[in-house]
Symmetry: C2
Subunit: 471 residues, 2 copies
């Protein structure tokens, strides 16, 4: 009866209170229809703020374990706990668990949650760090760009015409001929993938990809890794071949011009359309081979680009390019999902392309990324070279670090998290890959990289030692 | 051989060329493997720009009927037309047709397409017109609002904390207690509906609603209208009850305080959670009853709000409020769909709530809408009173006009479109409703309302006359 929540356990106080209350009900200490003490009394007894008590009570009411009666107080729900779990209003937990939509993996959820904290060293984060985001220039554009009353209305299905026209010119410089009707503006590359995966199949969709792949980390997209192009024959009418031909995430590898030709040919031979995710292209240190889309004579390739990696993920601006009939269909679908993207970031993006700010920015950014890549490789040479290997990055953000023993487990991920180090482990990108870590040199400052990588190396070494001792 | 595209048919020139080419192939005039004339020659022969020819050729290549061979020209595809339709690379049409995602109805597609034209009288458009959008004030906020480097990064799963905190205060003034963890920022109310419909069911979801309903116009959401609350017992574990209790779209009707209590009770009795779509609340001319959510003691109501109707749809800012566990799940799902909403409009919205600009704006807006409502009713009295009926609007945008004969057909919709008048016919909101038109007084200018409604009345009268003559 004198239970009290503990501070510093990492579990929020209201959650601890919830757990305690559930136990009281489960064990029969609190029978059905029992009236609970007042919020004030509970707060006194548990020595917490009243608002914390209210939060716990609200959650348990939402779960159906408690029932509020207006003006009278809060009661343990009528049908008893076990029945409730299987038949309560509104049975949210059941609905969530039965949901067709798979939740993100626990690791991804933790990454998404921890990334909002400022005291975390984000060694794997796939975005530009605060120092590299051109926020001053973006704010300048926001202050200048002309936004009409009409722009503040609903968007056209395919996105703002100014941005699509600007993209027509931009794509031309990358070897791709596309008119505005063949372009759909999306909220980043991930929305393009979702539209493609739900908009062009009858329920059995499968995306083929090389292993390891970013796609493996998105639970709502069913994907299969293949090692040889010959195996792509299967179920081609429900499938795509997904590829990041330039600076693959997470490996950083780019396909050669010949490999690109071969991939197009192999996919054509088995009637398999290609999704070309080209969001890292403009960050290649040396000019990369032309996109697959530029070699596409049969409308076989859907091309995806984005400003999330090159300028700012917070803009949520990406694009899809493909045959007009396909784009018509996917734009219609986007209207049903979110009624188009926000006009403001679309106009900011259009102005960046039109004015040349975009090209200036990426040109300077590439130099900074190259310096960071060199700096990071020097750190790896110092701390990791005796137990890990990697290839020198050709651009983008990532070094695909291979530890010589399979110790990059979920336990290690969580152990590092407790020390405020966030990594992107290999198992996010390929099943049962416990050897790799995706190191990103784009997010942390140099000081953070130095500190974080040193600590990471220590932890890894300790584990390697541990394993060696076991033998 | 001397066929040429016709101008002024309404069918784009490149589409006419496509149709002509398909016929040539279908009828065997152009056999498989035939090499087509050069683009230049075709352009000369058809007397069109070369870019128009290229567009037609690209589309037919995308459809698999033509094949481009690099450096050699364009050929009629190998396997012949009929085989191609059933087995071509990449068979986009087949994929689109088999897609699980239903396209918007033809009427909605036409509305979405025509709304981008400036010469159209939009008599049914459910948004603020250019005169009512506070674009000056919004631009002012854009110039002032502080956006940090961090804000230009990826968003938190539930949305920017500044906006969620501002909404906590805003919701309190509407009778709703919610902390920031119980709120998820979405790209408008429609995205909230999509997240709810895909995130909380195992595939058999059904939304119940009163008839007529806005929900009926969204093909990707399966919905059923019910006339009595008793019938809601069915399949409750896969269902929601969807309601716009204040200023329903399209009818403009609001539920009384007693009706709200009864609805909550009736839904609780059959274990049915409620989706309360409250996007019009702040546009009620007189203070409306409290939201259902404020009466919700059991976490039974998911509440939806938005700035699309009150400030600007181009911002794409809405919110969902519900039990934390449900919001956790839906925020995770949103990350998979679009990685969160753009930071810029979120910060603009937060500043509008914080500074009081929002309340000032809606207070002035309501007065303007009331004047427009009165002006529009006067027009209806002048032109429509002998063959139609309606109720005086209590707020929002709409008058649900009932014509005394079922003449509001797809044919009428298209006839009016040819005269540059865009209406929202009743059949969008209830099956086989050919009696109603949703008139909106929020979008057109007064001059346009006067001109458009007069013309609409003439057309309707002519049709009524026609029908009378037939008898």
């Amino acid at each position: 009866m004198v239970w009290k929540p503990e501070h510093k356990t990492g579990i929020p106080i209201y959650r601890q209170i919830m757990n305690w209350m559930v136990k009281q009900i489960e064990h029969g200490h609190w029978p059905a229809e029992m009236k609970l003490p007042t919020q004030r009394k509970l707060a006194e007894q548990l020595q917490v703020n009243r608002s914390t008590v209210i939060q716990a009570l609200e959650e348990l009411k939402a779960d159906g374990l408690l029932t509020g009666k207006a003006g009278s107080g809060i009661y343990v729900s009528q049908p008893g706990w076990h029945e409730l779990i299987h038949g309560a209003i509104p049975r949210w937990k059941e609905r969530i668990n039965q949901s067709l939509c798979q939740a993100n993996s626990q690791t991804i959820q933790l990454i998404n949650d921890f990334e909002k904290r400022t005291d975390i060293l984000r060694l794997g984060t796939g975005e530009l760090g605060p120092e590299l985001i051109p926020s001053g220039a973006l704010q300048g554009t926001m202050r200048q760009v002309a936004i009409t009353e009409r722009d503040f209305g609903y968007s056209e299905p395919k996105g703002h015409i100014q941005l699509r026209n600007a993209l027509t010119d931009y794509l031309k410089t990358r070897g791709i001929q596309a008119n505005a009707e063949q372009i759909v503006i999306v909220s980043g590359g991930i929305q393009a993938l979702q539209l493609l995966s739900i908009g062009l199949n009858s329920g059995q969709l499968n995306m083929f990809h090389n292993s390891p792949s970013y796609l493996h980390s998105i639970p709502s997209i069913t994907s299969t890794s293949i090692t040889s192009l010959d195996k792509m024959k299967l179920k081609s009418n429900q499938s795509f071949y997904y590829v990041i031909p330039t600076l693959n995430n997470p490996t950083g590898i780019s396909l050669s011009a010949v490999e690109r030709q071969e991939l197009i040919k192999a996919c054509a031979a088995v009637n398999l359309p290609i999704i070309e995710d080209d969001v890292y292209r403009d960050l290649a240190f040396e000019k990369p081979p032309l996109p697959l889309k530029s070699l596409d004579h049969n409308g076989q390739v859907i091309y995806i680009g984005s400003l999330s990696k090159t300028v700012s993920p917070g803009l949520r601006i990406g694009w899809m390019v493909g045959p007009e009939s396909v784009m018509d269909h996917l734009a219609d679908l986007k209207m049903q999902l979110d009624y188009g993207s926000s006009a403001i970031p679309q106009l900011v993006a259009a102005e960046w392309f039109r004015s040349g700010l975009y090209e200036q920015h990426v040109s300077a950014l590439k130099k900074q990324l190259k310096q960071r890549a060199d700096f990071t490789e020097a750190l790896l040479n110092t701390y990791f070279s005796d137990f890990a290997e990697w290839q020198s990055p050709q651009g983008g953000f990532y070094i695909w670090l291979r530890i010589k023993q399979p110790i990059v487990t979920k336990a290690l991920f969580q152990l590092l998290l407790k020390q405020n180090i966030l990594i992107n482990p290999g198992y996010l990108y390929a099943p049962n890959d416990y050897e790799h870590i995706r190191i990103s040199y784009s997010y942390c400052s140099r000081e953070e990289l130095a500190r974080g990588l040193k600590k990471l190396a220590q932890e890894l070494k300790a584990r390697l030692g541990g394993i060696n001792n076991e033998h």
